[in-house]
């Protein structure tokens, strides 16, 4: 079976500084994959590279189609939803507007309404705050809103950049539970970048470990989790 996302020989540059050297990985359709590594290993850059938000070389194939040269908004319209690092919302727009913006290209109002209802089923708290400005939400709520907005794109692949960042442990657990539900019920494949390796390995079925812009190892989560060498040298716990 062809993978949903296939990345081969990916290099990425910020100006003249190269930050990814030779990244290779695959994401199967329907699964949850995690990208681990220390600070500055290139996790965020890899996600940004997939959406062409940095200058890249190499091959990125989504659903068998090369997307490496497409503009960010065109990649998103192929239903890759990127939830950026840290509170990725439009702070001056309301919760309602934040969600609707993701569906603005669509004409089928009934379907959008139905999706809104489903999103509120995952995040009932957002429904209570629907007319509030996103900037006035708590950190956890903003993260939920960012994921909810990504869902409104009806994604096939969701890229999540550190959804646990700066949040209380209980909220993080809640968000991760919802992510699992989304993966199972909406059939959304997930690529998760996390600092919190233990948490990510519990959720994901497959893991890749990055170090200084290269994939240094990969394997099923259970193997990575139980390999003491990997844990000590790359994951630091």
């Amino acid at each position: 079976m062809t993978p949903l996302l296939e990345v081969k020989g990916l290099k990425a540059f910020y100006g003249t500084t190269q930050s990814l050297y030779d990244v290779n990985f695959e994401i199967p359709s329907g699964g949850i994959t995690t990208l681990l590594g220390a600070n500055g290993a290139g996790k965020t850059t890899t996600l940004r590279a997939i959406c062409n938000m940095v200058r890249t070389e190499g091959m990125i194939r989504f659903d068998g189609q090369e997307i490496g040269r497409m503009a960010t908004e065109e990649i998103v319209r192929r239903r890759i939803a990127h939830v950026p690092e840290g509170r990725g919302t439009f702070t001056s727009l309301t919760v309602d507007e934040n969600l609707r913006i993701a569906a603005y290209t669509r004409r089928d109002k009934a379907a959008v309404k139905e999706e809104l209802a489903r999103v509120f089923d995952y995040f009932p708290r957002l429904k209570e705050r629907i007319q509030q400005q996103a900037g006035t939400l708590s950190g956890g709520e903003q993260q939920m809103l960012a994921i909810a907005r990504a869902l409104m794109l009806k994604p096939r692949l969701m890229l999540l950049d550190e959804p646990s960042f700066g949040l209380a442990p209980l909220i993080v657990l809640e968000i991760f539970r919802i992510l699992r539900r989304i993966n199972e019920e909406e059939k959304v494949s997930i690529l998760l970048v996390e600092q919190n390796a233990a948490l990510a390995l519990d959720l994901a079925s497959h893991a890749y470990v990055l170090e200084t812009g290269k994939v240094v190892m990969s394997g099923p989560s259970s193997v990575v989790k139980n390999d003491e060498n990997i844990r000590k040298s790359y994951l630091g716990y």
């Binding site: 960010t72 998103v76 990127h82 990725g88 609707r100 603005y104």
Partner: protein, 301 residues
């Protein structure tokens, strides 16, 4: 009392014009962080286009709508052709381009239509249907037309998906791309809308100040003041600021007249009202640097 009301009415009419130009400035400012110095000259050029259309025999309102549409297209083209290549250029280069644009619009209008001052018709009936002779028909018409335009814009930005996309693109371009918004086109659209709103202001004011290539110079200055007083990043503030500045300048002139009448001492007349109004603007800004409705922007460095 009568005179006070008359001054108030004429202040509101002027204010409506300033509000439109200020709004055009703010619309571009919020999405690009640049002040378009050529906004006034673009509006002047649009006004000439409407004059030309009328000269070819079209009715005022047909020419009005025609000029708005042409201005919209010109605005979009200016963004796509001239400003797009400067996307990552330093601020100063963009300022120079704006000044160049100003000079080009001005001299092109002069070259095509000559620098001779032209009369420009008012579309509103001459009969004084104004309220008790306080507000003239043209002034009332100007206020009504601008209010309609401003309402349309408000409805567009507030209630349509495209308006929402434009606001999102202005607030956070990168995130807007991540929800599939074509940010580059939103910018161009913003330029088109700004040019169209400016055109409305030009066509409404031309009957009062007459048509000539330099007609918008003073108005642009007032519009800058309006946008600043309202808080430069705030469209609603710019509109309110426009009306404040318009009323303020006329009140200053009125106060000057009253002082002269009662004491015989000449302090301020029509000639000084711009100066005094701007002094008041500066005063407001020293007290509230972000403008009356602006928020202080804290940027992480």
């Amino acid at each position: 009392m009568q005179q006070l009301l008359e001054q108030l009415a004429s202040g509101l009419a002027n204010g409506a014009i300033y509000a439109c130009v200020a709004l055009a400035l703010v619309m571009i400012y919020v999405s690009t962080d640049h002040l378009n110095f050529a906004q006034g000259e673009m509006a002047m050029f649009s006004t000439y286009i409407s004059w030309q259309l009328m000269n070819w025999g079209l009715n005022f309102w047909v020419a009005f709508v025609g000029a708005i549409l042409i201005s919209f297209v010109m605005g979009v083209l200016i963004e796509r052709v001239i400003l797009r290549p400067l996307h990552n250029a330093p601020v100063l280069s963009i300022v120079v381009v704006f000044i160049g644009l100003l000079a080009i619009c001005n001299s092109m209008a002069g070259a095509i239509w000559s620098y001779l001052i032209k009369e420009y018709p008012s579309p509103f009936p001459k009969s004084s249907f104004g309220i008790a002779g306080v507000i003239g028909p043209h002034q009332l018409g100007v206020v009504l037309v601008t209010l309609v335009v401003l309402t349309l814009l408000f409805v567009f930005f507030r209630f349509t998906p495209l308006g929402l996309a434009m606001r999102a693109a202005a607030q956070n371009p990168q995130m807007a791309r991540l929800v599939g918004v074509r940010v580059d086109w939103m910018l161009a659209l913003g330029w088109g809308l700004a040019a169209a709103v400016g055109a409305v202001a030009g066509m409404m004011v031309a009957h009062i100040v007459y048509l000539d290539p330099n007609m918008m110079g003073g108005i642009l200055l007032y519009a800058f003041a309006s946008a600043l007083i309202g808080g430069i990043g705030n469209p609603g503030g710019a509109v309110v600021g426009g009306f404040i500045v318009g009323v303020l300048e006329n009140m200053v002139a009125y106060a000057g007249n009253m002082i002269e009448k009662t004491t015989g001492v000449y302090i301020i007349g029509n000639g000084e009202k711009l100066t005094v109004a701007l002094i008041i603007v500066i005063f407001v800004l020293t007290l509230k640097p972000a403008g009356l409705f602006g928020r202080v922007v804290v940027k992480r460095v």
